[in-house]
Subunit: 306 residues, 2 copies
C-alpha cells in the first residue's frame, strides 16, 4: 500500500532561494493528506501534479503564517473547481474565525462544507481514523499552541508468498487484494484461503511530523521506533542560542531526537533563509543520526518499506 510524503515547501518563515514555506502531502493508498499549507501550496501542488480532488483532510500545526497562509487560496480553488464533498480541516483555535472572516468579506458561500476540528496543544489525542490510518497529535513547544501529527497504519500489509504467485498464476490486481487480506479464486472456482498465500503482516508503518518546536524530549515515547520522522532543523549548530530564543531546533537537535527515539529515518526541513547551501545542516545532523535526508521540495519519501 502506497504510503509516502511529498515535500511542497521546506523553508522557514521568510521565503528564500526559491524555497517555499512549509507544506507536505502525505499519500496513502491514493488519498492525500495535506500537512501545513504555507503560501503558494496550491501552486506547488500544480507543479508536482498533486490532485486537489484526492484531498479530504488538511492538518495545520499552528497559526504562524508560513504554515497556513496558503489555506485560503486552496479553499477558494477547491470551490471554483466545483468541489461538493466536505473538507476536514484540523487546526488550532482561531483558524475557523480567520477562514470565516475571509469568506464573509468575500461574500463567498462554499459549495462544500468545511468540517473544522479544533486541536488542543495540551495532550496528544487521536484526531482522525479511517480504514487504514489513524492520526494523533503530538504536543510541540513553540511560541504558539502547536501540534505535530503522527500518522500510523492500523495494520501492516500481508506478505504474499512468492512461490504461490507462480503456482496459481496470480495476476498483479489479485496480488493487491491478497495483500489486503483477500482469498484467491481459481478459474475452476476453487477458493485458496488467504492464510495459505501469505506470511504474517509487516509491522504497521508510521510517520511523524514535528514542526515547529524547540528541542524537547517530551514526545520521545510517542514517536519511538517509527519509520520516518520529519523534525524541523531550522538552524545550524552555531545558532543554537538563536534556535532556543525563537523556539526552533537546530538540525543537530533534530538528529538527537531521531537517535533517542530510535526512528528508522529522519527528514529535516523548515530551513532558515540564512542558508543558501543546506549541506551544513545535513552534515551536522548526520553526526548524530546517519540516515538523515533534507526535505527537498518536489521529492517524495517512502514511509518504511513499500
Amino acid at each position: 500500500m502506497q504510503f509516502e510524503v511529498t515535500i511542497l515547501g521546506s523553508n522557514g518563515a521568510i521565503p528564500a532561494y526559491n524555497r517555499h514555506p512549509t507544506a507536505q502531502v502525505l499519500t496513502y493508498n491514493g488519498n492525500s493528506f495535506l500537512i501545513d499549507c504555507g503560501e503558494g501550496t496550491q501552486l506547488q501542488m500544480n507543479r508536482y501534479n498533486i490532485k486537489r480532488g484526492r484531498l479530504d483532510n488538511i492538518f495545520i500545526s499552528h497559526l504562524h503564517g508560513d504554515h497556513y497562509f496558503g489555506l485560503m487560496g486552496l479553499i477558494s480553488s477547491l470551490n471554483l473547481n466545483y468541489r461538493t464533498h466536505p473538507l476536514n480541516i484540523f487546526g488550532p483555535e482561531g483558524l475557523d474565525e480567520i477562514i470565516n472572516a475571509h469568506l464573509k468579506w468575500g461574500k463567498t458561500e462554499l459549495r462544500y462544507k468545511i468540517n473544522f476540528h479544533q486541536l488542543s496543544a495540551d495532550i496528544p489525542v487521536q484526531v482522525y481514523e479511517d480504514e487504514f490510518l489513524t492520526v494523533e497529535t503530538i504536543i510541540l513547544q513553540h511560541r504558539l499552541p502547536t501540534t505535530g501529527f503522527l500518522f500510523r497504519e492500523k495494520k501492516g500489509q500481508l506478505n504474499i508468498i512468492r512461490e504461490k504467485i507462480q503456482e496459481y498464476r496470480i495476476e498483479v490486481k489479485d496480488i493487491v487484494k491478497i495483500k489486503d487480506g483477500g482469498d484467491f479464486i481459481l478459474p475452476d472456482g476453487k477458493i485458496i484461503p488467504n492464510k495459505e498465500l501469505t506470511h504474517k503482516p509487516k509491522p504497521p508503518r508510521s510517520y511523524a511530523y514535528c514542526s515547529d518546536t524547540v528541542y524537547t524530549e517530551t514526545f520521545l515515547p510517542q514517536i519511538a521506533s517509527i519509520d520516518l520522522l520529519y523534525h524541523e532543523g531550522t538552524f545550524a549548530h552555531e545558532h543554537t542560542a538563536r534556535a532556543a530564543e525563537t523556539m526552533h531546533s537546530t538540525a543537530k537537535q533534530a538528529a538527537i531526537i531521531a537517535s533517542k527515539a530510535n526512528v528508522k529515518q529522519l527528514l529535516i526541513g523548515h530551513f532558515s533563509a540564512r542558508y543558501e547551501d543546506l549541506n551544513i545542516l545535513l552534515s551536522e545532523a548526520k553526526t548524530e543520526f546517519l540516515n538523515t535526508s533534507l526535505a527537498i521540495e518536489g521529492e517524495t519519501f517512502q514511509v518504511g518499506l513499500p
Copy 2:
C-alpha cells in the same frame, strides 16, 4: 523620471500554466506601489528582484482572494525583515478586520504601523498624493465592491535642450536635477537658470488599473487619453456571456474601452485558467485596439515616454 509597471501575476482566480494570481508593482522614481497582492506575490517579488524595502503603499482592488491572499505573507515578511516605517494599505471595508484576525491569532505585534485607508466603491476620489503622483480610485462593476486605480503624474518632466548639455558640459547627475526644475551652477559659480536650459514639460503621464470589472463605460471620461491602461480581459469573445455572468470582461471588450477612451497603450490580463495559449485573447483585442500587449509575468511596461 522612472514610471513603469512590472507584472507579478496575470492569471484569473485559479492559478494555471504557472501563471500567478493578480499583482503588479508600479515603480516611480525608485519607489514601489503594489497593486493587488494575490497568493505568492512576495515570492514573485523575490523572483523579479523587487525590493520589499522600497514599498510603502499597497492598493487592493477588492476582496476576491486572487487579488489579496498574498497580503498577509508580505505583511509578515516585512515584519521579519525588521521594517519599522509605516505601511499604507488602501482597500475595501473588511480588509482591516481580516488582517487583524490573522495578527491576533498569530500573536503577532508588528514592528511597524499599518495605516489602513478604507476605500469606497461609490464615487471616484483621490486617495493618495506625494510630491510627484496622485492616485484616484476608479469605480468598477464587479460582484464585490471594487475599485481600480489611476496613477497620474502631477507635472510632466522638463525637456532639457540637447545643445545646452554640450555647451555647459552638463553631467548625467545634473541632467536629472535640471529635468526636475533645478538650475545649473558652472564651475566658476555662475548660475544658469533652468528656463534657459529646458523646453516646456512633457505632458504628465498616467496609468490606470481596471480589474476586475464587467464591461462598463462609466469611467471612460476619467481615463480619457491616458498613456497606459491595464484592463482585465479574462475571456475570449466566444465566452462573452460567461464574462457578463461572472462580471468579467472579454479581451475584446477591454480593447473597446481602450479605443473609446483613446488611451495610448493597452495591457490585458487576469487570464482565465481555460487558456493555455493567450494569443486568442491578444488577437481578438487587437482587432479593436492595435497597441495591445499581454500582461506577461516578469515583463515591465513603461508608462508613456520615459
